[in-house]
């Protein structure tokens, strides 16, 4: 299949390859990925440029290869037993690379999945901080936000669950030692914190999205480079893997609409 322009590529497919880029440089680490685009991104990376990446079955095992979404448990090839108690050994050893979701994320990379409004009596109780505090100070963490808006990209999150750059720095070298918020991928673009003060920067916009679309949907001032590129095209191989192998029922297009 030859794809000479982006007209046939869905927004969700750009999001999946943007998520795959999270896993490009780390070698043999455990990938954990929440959400459809991250799950596809980790699998794409494993099948292409990150062959040493270790994937989980989302339950209590590490699996060989990169099983398509919805693979029946009987069809998985297990490499290792990974119950939750052992997951913490991996988290605290740093041999993990994670994409979590964020109900709120702010300009210094704090994430919130605990509660909206005051913690003592929330307007909306969310799932809870889960492992976000420990994850973010122990290994590389990125975020996936499928609904980019001024409600999700906020000046200051209500409850700091995942720790951002300013909070880690304030907490001291124990908190910054293994801390890295690598990317934020949303349905509109890709962001990082590669700025002098580690505030959020727009890295690329997905084709069909303008810089103005992004700034209008963001509740704080993003760092904007003079030229903002488009998120890279999936390669023909990546499109084949996404469409024919990993996600033939196109779950990805239900998470993010083009």
């Amino acid at each position: 299949m030859t794809m000479t322009d982006d007209s046939g590529v869905s927004r969700a497919e750009y999001c999946a390859v943007a998520c795959a880029e999270v896993f490009r440089v780390d070698g043999e680490v455990m990938a954990s990925a929440f959400g459809t685009a991250p799950a596809l991104g980790a699998r794409l990376a494993r099948l292409t440029f990150a062959p040493d990446l270790v994937l989980t079955d989302g339950d209590a095992a590490l699996v060989d290869g990169a099983p398509p979404l919805g693979t029946r448990p009987e069809a998985l090839v297990f490499e290792s037993h990974m119950p939750f108690r052992r997951v913490f050994d991996v988290v605290w050893s740093g041999r993990r690379n994670l994409i979590m979701m964020a109900s709120q994320i702010d300009r210094t990379g704090n994430q919130n999945i605990s509660a909206i409004g005051p913690w003592a009596r929330p307007k909306a109780q969310l799932v809870g901080v889960r492992g976000a505090p420990g994850n973010t100070v122990n290994h590389t963490t990125s975020y996936w936000v499928p609904n980019h808006s001024t409600r999700s990209f906020v000046e200051q999150v209500d409850v700091v669950s995942g720790v951002g750059y300013a909070r880690a720095a304030a907490a001291g070298p124990e908190a910054t030692r293994f801390h890295e918020i690598r990317f934020v991928v949303s349905n509109l673009g890709v962001f990082d914190f590669a700025t002098p003060d580690h505030t959020m920067r727009l890295v690329s916009v997905h084709p069909g999205v303008t810089v103005d679309d992004v700034t209008a949907a963001t509740g704080f001032d993003l760092v904007l480079p003079a030229e903002v590129p488009e998120t890279r095209m999936p390669t023909p191989e990546e499109l084949h893997l996404l469409r024919e192998v990993l996600d033939p029922s196109a779950q990805r297009d239900r998470e993010v609409r083009t």
């Binding site: 339950d59 209590a60 095992a61 037993h81 119950p83 939750f84 108690r85 913490f88 988290v91 605290w92 605990s114 509660a115 913690w119 003592a120 009596r121 929330p122 307007k123 909306a124 109780q125 969310l126 799932v127 809870g128 901080v129 889960r130 492992g131 976000a132 505090p133 420990g134 973010t136 100070v137 122990n138 409850v159 700091v160 669950s161 995942g162 720790v163 909070r167 880690a168 304030a170 907490a171 001291g172 070298p173 124990e174 908190a175 030692r177 293994f178």
Partner: protein, 290 residues
Amino acid sequence: MTLDDLVGGLASGMTLGLGGWGSRRKPMAAVRAILRSDLTDLTVVSYGGPDVGLLCAAGKVAKVVFAFVTLDSIPTDPHFKAARQSGGVEATEVDEGMFYLGLLAASQRVPFLPTRAGLGSDVLTVNPWLRTVRSPYDDGEELVAMPALRLDAAVVHVNRADAAGSGQILGPDPFFDELFLGAADRRYVTTERIVPTEQLAEEGALQTLCISRLLTDGVVETPGGAHFTTCVPDYGRDEAFQKEYVAAAGDPDAWAAFVERFLAEDEDGYQAAVRECTAERAAGSGQGGA
């Protein structure tokens, strides 16, 4: 022993640990027995699922110690949400790993265990009583000192056990059940089936025998005792029932009807009502397809 004996070992005001994780292998029969009791003012320590939700809905809970409360296939528990949003329960929210270390510290009878988890997050600001500790070695690192989570009592649910209280977990993840028991003064196991000790090794490999009787004071046979949470390989999560639980929770009348139908009677009554409900659903979908 029986569920009534188990509940008889608990008292109002206790700190109670409940095993499992989210909507997985929760000691639900014991939770339902607590719902029918006079117990109140409990501090519930849980990797939370519908155990926390049901106890909150019944007004049994003064405080929840948690890292999350989730139904897994449904992100949040509606009753816990309502309790938090109305200010109806106190909360201690910590990182999942801090929670684990708190149970481990209690099991090992040390006052705390150090961890990087929590540093820089609001876990430390919303729990201002949490302290840090400086390494006495050359690195001098200052880490969170997660205090022992001592429990007055704990209940876990396992696939098989023998009458002496050795427990067997046949599913893929033993979670932190062993540590809940280790952290507690009164330790109860509920099980799908009590079998002769010599049969345990036939049910699964040696490493599935992960709850030793050193950790248990009483065992209760409660078939279906984790329903509607998953208890693989005996049964998976009853997703249809979990959806009904969530739907009913959204409306006071519907919730009263749910309680009346499922939770008013004893455990046998519950299981019978669930069977009836499952049969009705099957019949309904059969007609729909005809």
